[in-house]
Amino acid sequence: MLPDQMLFAMEVTLNGLMAGVMYALVALGFVLIFKASGIFNYAQGVLALFAALTLVGIQQGQVPFAHLINAVFGTDLHHFGWTLPAVLALALTALVMIGLAWLIERLVLKHLVNQPAIILFMATIGLAYFLEGLGDVMWGADIKTLDVGLPQGISEAVETATASLFGYGFFIDRLDMVATVVAAILVLSLTLFSQYSRQGRALRAVADDHQAALSVGISLRFIWVLVWSIAGIVALVAGVMWGTKSGVQFSLSLIALKALPVLMLGGFTSIPGAIVGGLIIGMGEKLFEFFAGPLIGGATENWFAYVLALLFLVVRPQGLFGERIIERV
């Protein structure tokens, strides 16, 4: 029989890896946009919030802008009176996110072509606050319950199996297991898309060299709409996973903070990097909290994730899987 501390450490490691997958889901959206356009999208966390708000609103038949409409016209509108199946609501929300990507390109990005990266970054800061406000006005700031039928709670199968093996049943959240499967499907789909589809190849061409891609007739504006659409759908997936756990509320946008160390570690341009970075950060912060937390007062996870990322940065500035930057003079 293994000593208790070792069993607990194994349980913490598994849970850390699964938490890392949840972080990676957020980080993926950042990577997609940065890879294709060199923009660090500050609004990625808010996109997840906006997607989750829209999903709940559509699913529960909430009238968008109801408070505003009622205040202006003296009406008493709140709900359309329907509850949509989760799959349909998800599909409609994905369409909204694609529409939003198109609008972002038309209204913001189009006007900033050839501007320095810092200007585009600033634009995404503005976009983040605008979307947060828009989400508030559209759907209200109350906490919403998100239910698309995902399981939650302890996996009894894992608990029973580990109990019979080690004499101690491990806790694994079924939602985290679903998130792991979803993340695997997402990464596989994105890889297949970028390797084997015409649009995917165009996307990779733009990522490699904007000028060269433009010279062979690839539309940069189309690629931006495409990549923001994909990032919007990835944000929807992240919003569903995190929103199922905590309800949909405005703090959801702060999950972006969990993605930053993942990006620093995994690199801003690598999809596998986001996944591996997420796993290392998740496992590292949980193990540090488990071993060192009790000695130094706990609540170490928020800062330790950044320390871990910084350590990697010192050794490998482009991140684990990032592209080495070579500037020739």
């Binding site: 607990f8 349980e11 913490v12 849970n15 850390g16 938490a19 949840m22 408070h67 009622n70 003296g74 947060e132 406000g133 508030d136 209200g140 700031a141 109350d142 906490i143 319950t145 998100l146 239910d147 939650q152 709670g153 302890i154 806790f171 959240d173 995190w242 756990k245 905590s246 309800g247 509320q249 405005f250 703090s251 959801l252 946008s253 702060l254 999950i255 969990k258 912060e285 949980k286 909290e289 488990f290 937390g293 007062g297 706990g298 609540a299 996870e301 928020n302």
Partner: protein, 428 residues
């Protein structure tokens, strides 16, 4: 023409010579945006709606209308201080920022500027000592009262003894969440239970490590000091690890409908403290519906009436309005100053009969403030969530805290503050 001009000039001169009858200004440092908006919005709505009710139904307080200009803090301490600085010149009579962090920053400022600070159920606990904190009031209950009431309730559940029991405190890693630690440490010595302190960093979206620790250490009870998303995640994680919900007790800021609804049926049995009544069975709500909501003057959508946080915001407005009324009575005029409102707070007595007159019979404890006592009786009740009914049910009447332990702690902490701030005790 000349006569008309002369008459107009005389009328203007008379008008300017008379004292201006300004509105009573009670700034509302609210948070309707950001990660804590879900709690900030109903609180502010309840706060605003009560003053609107007084304006619409009674013509204000003592015949003077009340203004409640809002300033958005986003539960951010720096923004809260900015809001204070930008509104204090408007004739502000009292502040109620609904944030312990902001409260700590404002205590020296209000003391300097001579404006009362009212922090019901939050803020610096030792401000209950009026000998040191002249401008701060935190009745009817504070965090140390909450910790003590929770322990007294557990004592009652365990036949009067907690010897050998394990209690974990899961808390928001901030000034707010750390408030009860000192009290619980003292109470653990007194009653012989083992206390484990488990901090969670704000905002608390991810709490896996903390709940794995709870699962490993298997405490008999978990006491919880959370706010915002931390509450919903904690309740969900407790359900996930199958922690017995009836042994999970939140402070009053972790006991609203928002906190338990996302976890669905699993949240049934979760308990929380409250220092005010729950539900809509109070006549005051009929008046708010009639004069405020139906008249289209509600601060929000009008759908939060009777919810836990809305009611608490309204309760804060009730106490402030009663303090202003008392100030008017003491000063002998209606347009009172901030200093006079402070006197009103200090002389305030709210009896059960007065609560009944206000349409709030049994809603809160009666109390009488004094120069020494700015903290009130400190009683709190236990409420329990029933997900199938979608409502909180009161389990107990008001439980009084352990003043023997608390008074000594309040004196110790306030004496340290007085020394640090170079204050001499008053009321002697």
């Amino acid at each position: 023409m000349t006569t008309k001009l002369a008459s107009l000039a005389m009328a203007l001169a008379l008008a300017t010579a008379l004292p201006a009858h300004a509105d009573l200004v009670v700034p509302d440092l609210s948070y309707r945006t950001g990660p804590f908006a879900a709690g900030g919005i109903p609180y502010s709505d309840g706060f605003q709606d009560y003053f609107t009710l007084l304006n619409e139904r009674d013509g204000g307080i003592g015949g003077v209308m009340v203004q409640t200009p809002e300033c958005e803090t986003a539960y951010n301490t720096e923004k809260g201080v900015e809001c204070y600085e930008s509104t204090k010149g408007s004739g502000a009579l009292v502040y109620n920022p609904l944030s312990t962090g902001i409260t700590y920053q404002l205590i020296p400022k209000v003391s300097q500027d001579g404006i009362p600070l009212y922090t019901p159920g939050y803020g610096r606990t030792s401000a209950a000592n009026g000998k040191v904190f002249e401008w701060v009031f935190n009745y009817p209950a504070n965090y140390w009262d909450g910790a003590s009431v929770a322990v007294k309730y557990l004592l009652d559940q365990n036949g009067g003894s907690l010897e050998g029991k394990k209690i974990a405190l899961l808390y928001h890693n901030s000034a707010y969440g750390k408030e009860p630690i000192r009290t619980l440490q003292e109470l653990s010595k007194k009653h012989g239970f083992a206390l484990t302190e488990i901090p969670i960093d704000s905002p608390g979206q991810e709490q896996k490590s903390q709940w794995l620790q709870v699962r490993r250490e298997r405490p008999d009870y978990v006491l919880f000091w959370g706010w915002g998303v931390m509450n919903q995640v904690a309740v969900q994680e407790a359900v996930n690890i199958r922690f017995p919900m009836e042994n999970f007790i939140g402070i009053w800021w972790s006991g609203s409908e928002n906190d338990v609804t996302p976890a669905g049926a699993g949240a049934t049995g979760y308990k929380a403290l409250t220092f005010n009544g729950v539900g809509t069975d109070y006549p005051i709500y009929n008046d708010i519906q009639k004069y405020v909501v139906d008249a289209g003057k509600a601060s929000g959508a009008g759908d939060q009436i009777g919810s836990v946080i809305y009611s608490r915001g309204m309760y804060a407005a009730v106490v402030i309005s009663e303090a202003i009324r008392k100030a008017q009575e003491l000063a002998g005029h209606a347009d009172v100053t901030a200093a006079e409102v402070r006197d009103g707070f200090e002389a305030l007595e709210i009896t059960d009969a007065r609560m009944a007159e206000l349409g709030l019979e049994g809603f809160g404890q009666s109390f009488a403030a004094s120069c020494e006592d700015h903290g009130g009786p400190g009683g709190a009740m236990l409420q329990q969530w029933d997900a199938s009914a979608g409502k909180w049910t009161l389990l107990t009447d008001f439980i009084t805290p352990d003043d023997e332990v608390l008074n000594a702690l309040v004196m110790e902490d306030s004496a340290a503050y007085a020394k640090e701030a170079g204050l001499t005790e008053r009321c002697n």
